[in-house]
């Protein structure tokens, strides 16, 4: 469960203070699928960095599964990320030199999981992310964008995280592949995963159950997605 209480984030460049986040408070329960939506520069990525334990708020509290993450040191944050967070980025961020399978296993290598368990989890994650098995031994730079994003989703899933955080996951994909990725998220949500999707497009945001709208670093609205868009994965088969 995610709980933000009065979170502020201030960037200082010289004498200029930028309030990227102002008094943000909301809760995300386990198993929810939410979108964080807002225009460019509204503070979405900043918020994601805090939720994802990549950064800490200037003030305010952030509780992840009841634990206060807001004042942790770098290496503690690394443990939190390894344990509870799965990231999906707009630029996929796969390592090109190694195979798809190894890319997916990477978080477990850092977690110190034994080899067999690692391989078993990677297999399950790749199946959940719907990447056909014949691609698993390819180097990740031989894949299409949609396939890469599914590898990234598998990597995010592999450590069985509390939340999957996706920052503009469809930003680099055409609309059809984008829908496949969104469909994959909906399927994972049906399996009980908590998903936080960050986007500036209403169309993309509407694939979640709940939309938090932020403008100028503040929550403007927090409501159920209406209408909710549903992707039927039967329409897309590789």
């Amino acid at each position: 469960m995610i709980e933000l209480k009065g979170v502020n984030k201030v960037y200082k460049t010289g004498d200029v203070e930028t309030w990227a986040l102002k008094d943000i408070s909301f809760k995300v329960n386990d198993g929810e699928f939410i979108s964080i939506m807002g225009p460019s520069g509204s503070g979405k990525s900043t918020l994601m960095h805090i939720i994802g334990a990549l950064d800490t708020p200037t003030s305010g509290e952030y509780l992840l599964d009841g634990k206060d993450v807001s004042k942790m040191a770098d290496d503690e944050l690394a443990d939190i990320r390894n344990d509870k967070i799965g990231f999906v980025f707009q630029q996929f961020n796969l390592l090109p030199r190694i195979t798809v399978f190894r890319n997916v296993m990477l978080p477990l290598i850092y977690a110190g999981t034994p080899k067999e368990a690692r391989e078993e989890s990677a297999r399950k994650a790749l199946i959940s992310a719907a990447l056909p098995e014949n691609w698993w031994t390819h180097h990740s730079n031989q894949l299409s964008g949609g396939q890469m994003q599914r590898v990234a989703i598998a990597r995010a899933l592999v450590n069985n995280p509390t939340i999957i955080l996706a920052d503009e996951p469809t930003g680099n994909l055409d609309s059809k592949t984008g829908e496949i990725v969104l469909g994959t998220f909906q399927k994972l949500h049906e399996q009980g995963r908590t998903i936080v999707l960050i986007t500036h497009e209403l169309y993309v945001a509407e694939h979640a159950e709940r939309i938090i709208h932020i403008v100028d670093g503040q929550v403007k609205s927090d409501s159920k997605s209406h209408p909710r868009r549903k992707i039927s994965m039967k329409d897309y088969k590789d």
């Binding site: 960095h49 950064d55 690394a78 990320r81 030199r97 290598i109 850092y110 990597r155």
Partner: protein, 407 residues
């Protein structure tokens, strides 16, 4: 992170850009290679110098003329040119010093030698019958100078094998033939066995004559250039040396030992002096070679810094999925150590080939020791750690957000 995973990652990173990695480790290869070659040449030289010093005899003490200083004067005659040792000194040592096996005085000078119209210029050693025993010389043909020869002042000569080859041709038996030393006829009575070694101090290019003959016909004086003394055993060396020193001081009427007009050297001193010289020489050469190791290390550091910059996004991603500072710094440190270690291995092979070439073409014996190889491995790994440390730290301290955003 497991060590096998780390090694696998490092290996794939190092082999990704083979040309660049190869060029970068070249500095280490050359550095390690030349250090190995220099040490092996130095060790080889030391070995051959030691064995040639040992081949001149065992338990040997050499007495040579020294500076002839007058108190208060800074002027001295050149070492060895002084004529302060005499035949009588040698006789006194033989009679009065205990624990000695044999004494062999000699008077040595270079002369022009002719035989059957052939010419050579070589050392003529006037000595006594105990010389072969003291100086470890064996007779190949005929016999050495006898006590009778010395007593009679006979004009007989024993040739070293090289001199024999020069004057009569290889393998020829010259006994009974006549040679002319300084225009005086000598009859050849023997040839010594080759001892090997070449250049300065070779005992193969020499002519031995009775000391009395040399003093009478060649020098016209009874001074000697060296007195060789063989002690009974290694333990008695110091005692014999001390006895000789006090005896000669007394005979020469010198009360202050620092003003002695002779020098008493034992073989151990000569050996340790020679090895000090070759050691210094080896260290000097190896240090010069070592400089290229530092240059190589800087090359590694440069490449690692470039790599860290190029892989900023990768580092950010690794941190985002849970890599700690230590994981990142270890990864880059292992990469740089892998590079330098690889360079070390190639360098050892290169150094080994270099010293083989030196042995083959220059005839200098070389020897590669285990410790120099271990040292090379240690040094190359050390360079990897030292010069990889800063880039690795830089990678580890990257902010994951900045790193992920890096274009």
């Amino acid at each position: 992170m497991e060590i096998s995973e780390l090694l696998q990652e490092a290996f794939s990173a190092v082999t990704l850009n083979k040309a660049r990695s190869g060029l970068t480790i070249l500095g280490i290869v050359i550095g390690i290679g030349s250090v190995i070659a220099m040490i092996s040449i130095g060790q080889g030289a030391q070995g051959s110098i030691t064995s040639s010093i040992q081949s001149i005899g065992s338990n040997l003490i050499l007495i040579t003329p020294g500076f002839q200083r007058t108190p208060g004067s800074q002027v001295s005659a050149g070492r060895g040119s002084a004529e302060t040792l005499r035949q009588e000194d040698a006789d006194a040592i033989a009679n009065q010093v205990s624990m000695i096996q044999a004494v062999a005085p000699e008077i040595t000078r270079r002369y022009q030698i002719t035989a059957l119209g052939k010419n050579t210029n070589t050392s003529v050693v006037g000595t006594v019958s105990s010389y072969p025993e003291v100086r470890n010389i064996q007779i190949d043909l005929g016999n050495f100078i006898t006590d009778q020869n010395v007593k009679d002042g006979s004009k007989v000569a024993v040739l070293g094998p090289t001199t024999r080859d020069d004057l009569f041709g290889t393998g020829v038996d010259p006994t009974g033939k006549t040679i002319r030393i300084n225009n005086i006829n000598f009859q050849v009575v023997g040839v010594t066995v080759a001892k090997g070694g070449s250049g300065f101090g070779s005992q193969d290019d020499m002519i031995f004559v009775p000391i009395s003959t040399a003093q009478r016909y060649l020098e016209g004086d009874t001074y000697v250039t060296t007195i060789s003394v063989e002690a009974q055993d290694a333990q008695s060396m110091t005692q014999v040396q001390d006895q000789i020193t006090s005896l000669l001081l007394e005979r020469h009427h010198i009360s202050d030992p620092t003003l002695a007009d002779f020098q008493v050297l034992n073989q151990t001193d000569i050996l340790s002096t020679a090895s000090t010289i070759t050691n210094t020489f080896t260290i000097l050469l190896a240090s010069i070679a070592g400089i290229s190791l530092i240059v190589g290390g800087i090359g590694i550091m440069n490449m690692m810094l470039t790599t860290v910059t190029e892989r900023t996004r990768e580092i950010g991603l690794r941190k985002a999925i849970g890599a700690k500072k230590r994981d990142i710094s270890t990864q880059f440190l292992i990469e740089s150590v892998m590079l330098t270690f690889l360079g070390g291995i190639v360098g050892i092979i290169l150094g080994w080939m270099l010293s083989m070439l030196v042995t083959y073409f220059a005839g200098i014996t070389t020897s590669i020791s285990w410790w120099s190889i271990l040292l090379a491995f240690g040094v190359s790994a050390g360079i990897g750690i030292v010069f990889g440390y800063y880039p690795a730290r830089r990678a580890a301290s990257l902010n994951p957000i900045e790193a992920l955003r890096y274009e």
